[in-house]
Point group: C2
Chain length 433, copies 2
């Protein structure tokens, strides 16, 4: 390794994260040189309109043409921060095909084309690093890739979307309705103007697809992850859950069931003393459980501009440090090709709130509908009285297919006045853990 | 990299951790080969008496002579699990001098000779890895070495001793006295027969010395870490703290004060909603705070035989994976040679419980003694009545030297009937964070 080696970077995109990456690299230059023996600098920056004035980087670095970066043989690392799948996919593919290493924060891209890109990087004997794509400041990808080989990982679950966690925390803290909590999240900058990908669970699903692929060495794409968002979580559910000693969180869950895998995103109830229950606001937290480890939790702020930039710079440093030995790069594609474990077969514990007519025989009718499908009730509490009463029920663990059939049957009863929206209870049953 | 490359390991010590490392390496062989392209096997095991029958490894692997391992040119990695400083230091030094890589779980050794050994490894262009020496299953060393370059780390603090955390959790949960909680910890296997190194904070101090050295690229030895143990934490303190909304934890704290560093271990009070407050039982948790990151927490089970073995195997895999590029190895010794920030200069918030005569003028006398040294009282609550009353006081943040002088002055008052044992309150003041 030459002590004065120079590494040139092409940056794609210069928004909040891009400009923070630029300034972090400048500030940390001496430190990084000590760590890697190389001087790192950004030589070209791709933006839509290079003529616009921008803070930070000098104007001569900007270009509107990706070919300028691709064909610059001196540039050995391409940092992709434009997001979305197109043209990011084309740019990343071209960079890897030219043998350049890629650092990206693009979860949309990786959750759809990650497997293809990992293989391509390996074929071209180069690297693709993407810590910043999941869970902001928490180095969960690095830990999964490099520290968990011997752990015999069985499940990963956690809170991987800061926006929804902020909203659920607000609802729980202040008793606010969903729409008011969402408005507050937008006002405070914790939710985008269009927050639908956060709210409907798709953002969390993309991250879980990436985490599950890396953790279990298999190909999990966005479409393989069923997701339910938080749109239908009511403040009543949050209040009743609290009475039961439970907190509502949007969880991403990836579990091995022997040799099959199941990856999903859904709102879930956790005991108040579960460590994830106290992860509040826009924080993220990921739990890892394995045969040789009880459980490890990594938590920290979700993706803000600075956290993401810091993760990108760490990835750049890692790429540079292992530039002569791809080493772990083969790891994520030591492909096991796992089959999926069907959702219907998963054994879950459910909570259910039902609006019902307050008249004699209602509970008997409902219990009988569930009983017919072998679903047994663990506890039931009646809330309120009058024309509309509410039943808050928790069931014994049951195969999800059975529970779905029972819900359908019960939903046809005339005494039930609302669409039944069950919520899973997590953290205290066997399942695949 | 040859696809069928074979890596031979010499193991020093075959206790619980050693035998678990042996079996984990056997179980994970296929996985590790995929990850690193190499077959890893343990070829020789150093034990005191090789003639004794042992489970797991075949008898012909055992030797009583370290030279057998040292002079075996086929052995490229030495895994040191004998603990203590002698003969571990001689063995590790000799292995590095012979160009062999070393993996060790030995915190005593590293907290005393780590800096020397890191340098030696670098001089010999080989590696020393030691994830298992700190915080069991949590990969905090790896995260510090590889992910935090751009984070501008300012402080690390956390719970790094499982035994004392188990005892404090028991005292808090059941109201038990210290000695009863300790007896329970021993009964359940969470404390050794001789737990003094845990109880007096020395074990935590050794781990903090290692963490601070790696995090801040400087040389912090065990003797540079002042420590106070939990022997004098009373169940009254725990009960009164709870009334104040605080929990007692044994904390290791390493903080930068501009260009100087301060590393200490002491019992501290944390707000109940601080994430560390809910780390219970024998768990460990480490907080990282930096300029570019708000805070990251890593938590997991403390060092049990299986967690430590898993961390050792991960280190072996890392060493093998980067065998052709020492890369990050230079990192911990990019020496900054920081000076120490004196304990007396640190600004802290103190809690203090005083047994006093219940007579008029007592509080005035005490307040005046503190006031004379510029220490002002934030809150005071009188507990109990009668001949012996108790005052529970919390002070405004103050330089520790001043507080020490005030305590000394107050301690001379005849109305005070117990040795004053202040406890720091952490997590809500500025200081060096």
């Amino acid at each position: 390794m030459e002590p004065s080696e120079k590494i040139n970077i092409g940056l794609l995109g210069y928004g909040t994260v891009g400009s923070n990456v630029y300034s972090l690299l400048e500030e940390q230059a001496a430190e990084i040189k000590k760590a890697t023996g190389a001087s790192i600098s950004i030589n070209k920056i791709l933006v839509r309109d290079p003529s616009l004035p921008r803070a930070g980087a000098p104007p001569e670095l900007f270009t509107g043409n990706f070919e300028d970066i691709l064909n610059d043989a001196a540039i050995s690392i391409v940092v992709e921060l434009i997001g979305g799948t197109e043209p990011a996919f084309d740019f990343v593919t071209a960079a890897l095909e030219h043998g350049k290493a890629v650092v990206t924060a693009n979860k949309q891209l990786l959750s759809r084309q990650g497997f293809y890109l990992f293989r391509l990087a390996q074929d071209k004997k180069t690297q693709i690093s993407f810590e910043a794509s999941v869970a902001g400041a928490i180095p969960v990808i690095k830990v999964l890739r490099e520290s968990m080989v011997a752990a015999g990982l069985k499940s990963i679950y956690g809170i991987v979307n800061g926006t929804t966690n902020f909203i659920l925390t607000e609802m729980s803290r202040t008793g606010a309705r969903y729409h008011d909590a969402l408005a507050r999240a937008q006002e405070w900058g914790y939710a985008e103007a269009d927050p639908s990908e956060d709210i409907n669970g798709k953002d969390a699903a993309a991250k879980m697809a990436i985490l599950a692929s890396i953790a279990f060495h298999t190909n999990v794409g966005l479409d393989d992850v069923a997701c339910t968002g938080i749109e239908n979580v009511s403040r009543l559910d949050i209040a009743y859950a609290r009475d039961l000693g439970l907190a509502v969180k949007l969880l991403g869950v990836a579990r091995l069931y022997q040799d099959r895998i199941n990856v999903r995103v859904y709102p879930a109830l956790l005991k108040q003393d579960h460590p994830l229950a106290s992860v509040s606001g826009a924080y993220n937290a990921v739990f890892l459980k394995g045969a040789a480890i009880d459980e490890i939790m990594l938590s920290g702020p979700g993706a803000g501009g600075m956290e993401t930039a810091s993760a990108v710079v760490s990835d750049i440093v890692s790429v540079v440090a292992r530039r002569e030995s791809p080493g772990f790069l083969e790891y994520p594609v030591a492909y096991r090709g796992l089959e999926f474990f069907p959702d219907e077969e998963v054994v879950s514990t459910f909570y259910l709130r039902l609006e019902v007519e307050d008249e004699p025989g209602v509970l008997a009718a409902i219990a009988s509908a569930f009983g017919k499908h072998g679903v047994s009730i663990q506890s039931v509490i009646q809330k309120g009285r009058g024309a509309r009463a509410e039943l808050v029920m928790v069931f014994h663990p049951v195969k999800e297919a059975r529970f779905a059939a029972a819900i359908e049957e019960a939903g046809r009863l005339e005494v039930i006045k609302s669409t039944p929206r069950p919520i899973r209870v997590e953290g205290n049953h066997g399942g695949g853990e």
